[in-house]
Symmetry: C2
């Protein structure tokens, strides 16, 4: 089996909590090419024939399995665009671990645009975790597009995390929910230095009793800036809640522009947003316990982003 | 003194709670012309010389005075555009009652576009009430633009109300706040039938310790639709809160798209929005007391919009 070097292993640990190459279904893409690929009995992983990327076909009824599809970039000046399709079969219950880590050793920009189309069939449940991480001297750009189609009574829990080190990101997440479908999205973003992040989300509640909850937590430090634009449209007797909590520090800027639209008389939509600095009392309390201001800030931010 | 007929008196009562022509400073505009105009010792009301409209100059230190500047339209097919400038002198404490009532007896559209520029000088306080009302067979359009400049430590409380009967409205409210300025906006909108309402607000917190609170309450009935787009931008150590509560009934549609932007690390901004139907429990409770469903709805809506 192909082995990864120390930098690659470190990236993999950061974005997918992997210390080894997992035994189940997996696809590891490195510098624009699939380098490790396995299917399992229930989860088929196969390369697309018309464009870069893979199809992940999860058989109906598959339970308690996971598929890992991380992307690693370790070259400077590489722009990698990939199209992945994930189909979660009827009644399945699985975990998909995506994510991208860039180690950019040079001075040119390295970029990964991952376009994920996810179809969750009737009554299926998917947990989806996507972590982004960057390091190195060159610019690191990550533009994920995630398009989710949820059939009747399907469930999705998505955790979208930008750990750190991403120079610029435009995140696009779209979901359409049929009757009884339920979608929970948790997004957590940290930006430093001059980094910029934009997160657009459009969730359409098309079916009766569909529901969604979006929780976004973000921290903008130094001169970084972030823009959030979550949209929830309710076209049926459905429920949606959007919550954006942001901490700004140093000269960070955050703009939160949610939109909730009710097009059905029985729709219920709510939204909450707050932008502010770290609570002084919390800081002082930790500092009286002997921590430096920086240590205290770190602990509070870690708690906030967990 | 000029007398008003029954229809005009009724409009005046609806939009300005006036049963008589008030004794103080006043300007009543009817069908595109100022028909009644008085100044008081402290409040000068004078026609503009370059365009339609008036200047209202409130002397510094004026206390507990009111100025009424309502607009009446009773013709079908009239489009009236008016530019009013209101200057509230340093340390004054006054009430400005604007508003527009349209009785459209014909089949052509009648429209009033009121562009109000308001300057509130240092330490002054203004209460501003603007009510809109329409009736009659022809289309009734009201497009108010209100641009408020608030100097150091000034205070404004603005009540913007669309009572009913307005076929279409685009409301534009802009405010800039200097150090220590405080702005409270309460907006209440009711739409019926095929009526459409758009409310845009942009509030810029430019000065230290400036603060704003925007409370919007709205009800969309029948096939009416409403769009809210309040924006608060904080450029200083300042506070802002936006709250949008909406009730949809029948086939009403409401879209709420607030934006809060923090460009200063000590800014604190929050937003809450909720769109839903009348709470069933409330309805049932009133109905068990012997009210019909319609009566119960009326009482709940009146309470919500008060």
């Amino acid at each position: 089996m192909m082995k990864l070097n120390a930098i690659e292993n470190e990236l993999l640990k950061n974005i997918a909590d992997l210390h080894n190459i997992p035994s189940g279904a997996v696809n590891i893409r490195k510098n624009g090419e699939g380098i490790i690929r396995h299917s399992s009995a229930n989860i088929e992983v196969r390369p697309k024939t018309d464009k870069p990327g893979i199809d992940v076909i999860i058989a109906p009824g598959t339970k308690n399995e996971a598929v890992h599809i991380p992307v690693l970039i370790t070259l400077s000046g590489l722009v990698d665009v990939v199209y992945n399709t994930i189909i979660v079969g009827e009644g399945a219950d699985v975990t998909v671990i995506a994510g991208c880590g860039i180690h950019n050793p040079g001075s040119k920009k390295s970029q990964h645009d991952g376009i994920h189309e996810i179809i969750i069939k009737k009554g299926a449940k998917m947990r989806y975790i996507e972590k982004h991480y960057g390091e190195g001297s060159g610019e690191r750009i990550l533009n994920p597009q995630t398009i989710v189609t949820m059939e009747e009574n399907s469930i999705a829990e998505m955790e979208l995390v930008q750990i750190k080190g991403v120079s610029s990101t435009i995140r696009d997440t779209k979901a359409q929910l049929a009757e009884g479908a339920s979608l929970i999205i948790t997004e957590r973003l940290l930006t430093h230095q001059d980094q910029q992040a934009v997160s657009n989300m459009t969730i359409e509640l098309n079916g009766k009793n569909s529901n969604t909850k979006v929780v976004s937590r973000s921290v903008a430090r130094d001169n970084s800036s972030q823009i959030f634009h979550p949209i929830v449209i309710a076209r049926a007797d459905s429920k949606g809640h959007v919550e954006c909590d942001s901490i700004i520090m140093d000269h960070g800027k955050i703009s939160s522009t949610p939109a909730i639209t009710a097009e059905h008389p029985d729709a219920q939509l709510t939204h909450e947003a707050a932008i502010g600095k770290i609570a002084e009392e919390q800081l002082l309390k930790l500092m009286t316990l002997g921590l430096s201001e920086e240590e205290a800030e770190d602990i509070i931010l870690r708690g906030f982003l967990e």
